[in-house]
Symmetry: C2
Subunit: 578 residues, 2 copies
């Protein structure tokens, strides 16, 4: 895989200007995306006017093939730390980890500023904060759609509800002296049975207030048409469930709380008890029930230990692990490691989620094993039992036409997805010269009827979390991990008499991930001879240069192994002088 950081010189259609700190620049609003613009995930951005800063979201990104062994990638906050006293508010748009996951790693370092969000998001971030030590108690202020909050002399926030896959998803209007910046969070349009979008009046109202810039979700910008209605999904799920005689095992994301509520509701109507498998899903359902977002009778939910007490047709199991994650609930079931749940012929396995790019092979293995164990499988490509939470092309155009923004700034997604999203905006009436494609770390300055990407940048490179340390997995360590994974390594330990330069004992060799040494004694012997030859060529009784000797061994042994095996393991020579 290649990096997506190449920046051509002749990049067009971007008015780039150096802005000197002058009187004039004091009246400009600065927009600084720290993450989410060159990937899906790690969403974080700040908006700054004089000494007032508002942060929108604080998410993490899941690791990639390119970052082996890494737990999460979080936004870089180097540019925020020196002015943390200016941070007046953090807006969290919704309770998904790509928007809230980095909070425990970041919030303490920027002075634990007040967080504005809705009830469900608060419950989830507070619960998660308990899993960390040495993190501050969060300072959360509950808001809801329609609320406005003045966070300084100049900046004001107004919140509005948007449709997504988790309740309490919140868009925000940042009202600034240069105009209203509208951030729609992750959103889609939800349609009624007649195909009319719900709540378009909210968008209309915002449009009438005047929109300087619309910051728009690009996740599904390449997908033509309008979103599938959640009503369709609900109806199809209900019809599917009705036909199933055996147990239903349904896998989806634990974060799709709206969908989970619908599914449990249908199960209850059909007389099925619901058992929940997977810690994150249990937690989320508990939280959503406490807050009244999922309304089912107490006796509808049973512990997995009790599923054997009911007939198959009265059981539904909800589980995590729809992406084939190796540590999630469904994998434990399928690999036979689950104490209470085993797949058996007659089970209906329903996937109510899409496959995230990169997980195709894991999901394929999951389906193979489910099929081998006799489960019948239902998934989205067969029947519409999943709707994405992200606006498709027609959704986006409808919103753009209604908002009538002056400028369009696509957020959330890789460069190409955002370029395609600009086409959506242009088709919906935004002038071609008014779309702005930023990168992470770009600084844009906004004036009245002005949106300029400057040539100033702030640090926005990956901060990688692996174990306890934050950001201490550097490029070198990652590069080594990748090299080790490709051809393994060989350590050569030579013990020399410091005075004579004589090799004191047979060189020790250890190797991992290269070849199986026990089966390759002959090669091993040749390597030892090679090393002895190298050492013996060093003139006796002259000062030993261990570094020089090491580099000789690295080159010559490396070269020798390559001719013999066509592999290039990492060669690590150690010289011990006694």
């Amino acid at each position: 895989m290649m990096s997506s950081k190449i920046k051509p010189e002749g990049q067009t259609s971007k008015p780039v200007k150096k802005i000197k700190p002058t009187k004039e620049s004091e009246n400009l609003v600065r927009v600084v995306p720290l993450g989410g613009l060159e990937e899906v995930g790690r969403n974080m951005m700040y908006i700054e006017y004089r000494d007032e800063i508002v942060i929108i979201d604080m998410g993490f990104q899941f690791p990639e093939e390119e970052t082996p062994g890494i737990d999460y990638i979080i936004p870089n906050i180097d540019s925020l730390i020196p002015k943390k006293q200016n941070i007046r508010a953090v807006v969290l748009t919704h309770a998904h980890f790509d928007h809230i996951g980095a909070i425990p790693y970041i919030i303490g370092k920027i002075g634990n500023p007040p967080i504005y969000t809705q009830k469900l998001t608060r419950a989830i971030i507070e619960k998660r904060q308990e899993e960390f030590v040495n993190v501050p108690k969060l300072n959360v202020k509950i808001v809801k759609g329609g609320d406005t909050v003045k966070i300084g002399n100049f900046l004001e926030l107004e919140f509005f509800e948007v449709a997504h896959t988790v309740p309490d998803t919140t868009g925000v209007i940042v009202k600034t002296p240069v105009g209203n910046l509208v951030y729609f969070a992750d959103f889609r349009l939800d349609y009624d049975e007649a195909g009319k979008p719900y709540n378009l009046d909210v968008v209309e109202r915002i449009g009438k207030m005047g929109v300087h810039t619309f910051m728009c979700d690009s996740t599904n910008a390449e997908k033509p048409g309008a979103s599938i209605s959640e009503r369709t999904v609900e109806k199809n799920l209900a019809e599917l469930f009705e036909k199933i005689e055996g147990r239903i095992i349904l896998a989806t994301f634990s974060s799709m709380i709206t969908r989970l509520g619908e599914i449990m509701h249908i199960a209850e109507k059909l007389g099925r008890k619901v058992a929940v498998n997977g810690r994150s899903m249990k937690n989320n359902i508990q939280i959503a029930r406490n807050l009244g977002y999922i309304k089912v009778a107490d006796d509808t939910i049973i512990p997995v230990e009790e599923i054997h007490k009911y007939r198959d047709r009265n059981i539904m199991i909800l589980t995590t692990g729809a992406q084939g994650e190796s540590n999630a609930g469904l994998m434990r079931i399928v690999s036979g490691e689950h104490r209470q749940i085993q797949i058996r012929p007659g089970d209906a396995m329903v996937f109510s989620s899409s496959v995230i790019p990169g997980n195709e092979r894991s999901v394929q293995a999951l389906k193979d094993n489910l099929a081998r164990q006799g489960a019948q499988i239902f998934h989205t490509s067969v029947i519409d039992i999943h709707a994405s939470g992200h606006a498709t092309q027609e959704d986006i155009k409808t919103v753009v036409r209604t908002l009538k923004p002056e400028f369009f700034m696509p957020v959330h997604g890789h460069y190409y997805m955002r370029v395609v999203n600009c086409q959506n905006a242009i088709q919906a009436g935004v002038p071609k010269e008014n779309v702005r494609v930023l990168d992470n770390g770009n600084v844009a300055v906004l004036g009245k009827k002005q949106f300029t990407i400057t040539d100033e940048t702030v640090p926005a490179h990956y901060v990688m979390i692996d174990g306890l340390g934050v950001g201490d997995v550097g490029e070198v360590v990652l590069r080594d991990r990748k090299m080790l994974a490709q051809e393994g390594m060989i350590v050569i330990i030579v013990t020399l008499d410091r005075k004579t330069g004589r090799v004191l004992k047979n060189p020790d060799i250890i190797s991992r991930g290269f070849i199986y040494l026990k089966d390759n004694q002959e090669l091993l012997k040749e390597v030892r001879t090679k090393i002895r030859n190298i050492c013996s060529r060093v003139p006796k009784k002259q000062t030993m240069d261990a570094d020089y000797l090491k580099s000789l061994m690295r080159d010559q042994v490396g070269q020798f192994l390559h001719t013999q095996t066509y592999r290039r393991p990492m060669v690590l020579p150690v010289v011990i002088e006694i």
Copy 2:
């Protein structure tokens, strides 16, 4: 990712029986798939009657996430080697690597039997054979659709043409004493403009001969509907090309020779010169032109060095690398490393291929960089400019209805894909009890009106190729590579006085892929103290047990590092006694 090898005990609907070698069993045909049934790739199977064996295809599989550093995975031929004198024929259905790629690694080990295939396939395998040393000259016999060959007293082969993405794709009827086994290779139906499939009469003729078993491609078994006609693709490509003012850069698989021919033909009609980038594509086009499968004028093809001599609107560049492969043609262009070709605004980048599962992220990075450099991108999800080479559900049903086979055996694809393919067959009239889902290494015996999967198996596990050695990358080496990739490793070298057990010098520590040692001197110091403590606790002057000392260090240093960093590097202690 999980292995897909789990075998439940209660596997249903499979008549499994132990067949003892008796008179009766002498009259049965054995069908043994060695690869291709639990993956996409590595296709190879043999059919055996008494002392006559015919092998169908000899492909390799590309490496997976689970097999880091591996070049290819090839079929296991352990069960064939003892009876190589019985191998009468190898049928190669078409010139794609998942059907021919393993030839150089295998053919010499099984006595270089005669290969039956068509012209283009011969040219490609002979060309590839030149790249290897110590491989025999292939013994290829050219056949074409309609030919029959008697390969022994009992077995006869009849060949027939099928539509795929490469010319000269051949299906084969293996005529045995128990009936005709029909293997369709990779195939699809190709439709005329009225939606009528071409060449269905060939299928009708085979059906009339009577079909014992139909072995059917499952690659697209989950895809509803009929295949897109290649006429539609051609028409759409022509319309697209006509509208483009700038250069056209088109990426596809070098193995899609039929498509490449069409594209070059359109380019010629539009007055564009064609420059080819990428060695495999150049080779294939050269071979196909020599054999008359691609018919364009000599001066239509120009070297890439000469593209600057023509106006943009007169240039088309064909390139490999549509999957974002790091060593292919398109990647060199996009990363700025290509001497003659750079992307510039106005270029039209056309992807006439689908994304192979697992390559989504590389392709995303590719598109991002193309978009950054100003190219306009056209791909299949926007316009039908690619048709898969594999039969979709309606194609499969049409063929099944026409062949009217007694038994249906899905091949090519993961277990679940093949289970779904059985549904296609059942819907097209095959009795439910007559579908047979085998695994690699299963042995099936076929009699008249009989198809039994026995409980005999032959070795079919992965044989991995990495560098020079064949099959010498074992599970241990792979497991180590994966562990090294996750958390790296730390080597601890302790030098002891053999007589006193005293530590002679400060322990040496080297580490890769774990933490950056230079930035973690404190931790390093603590590890050294820890090691000294461990060594000092060993009672003096008693016989040193180096293995015991090593296991103490492995456990205690491992534990210590985990508490300090939450990471678990591989700890490799070395004890040097002087």
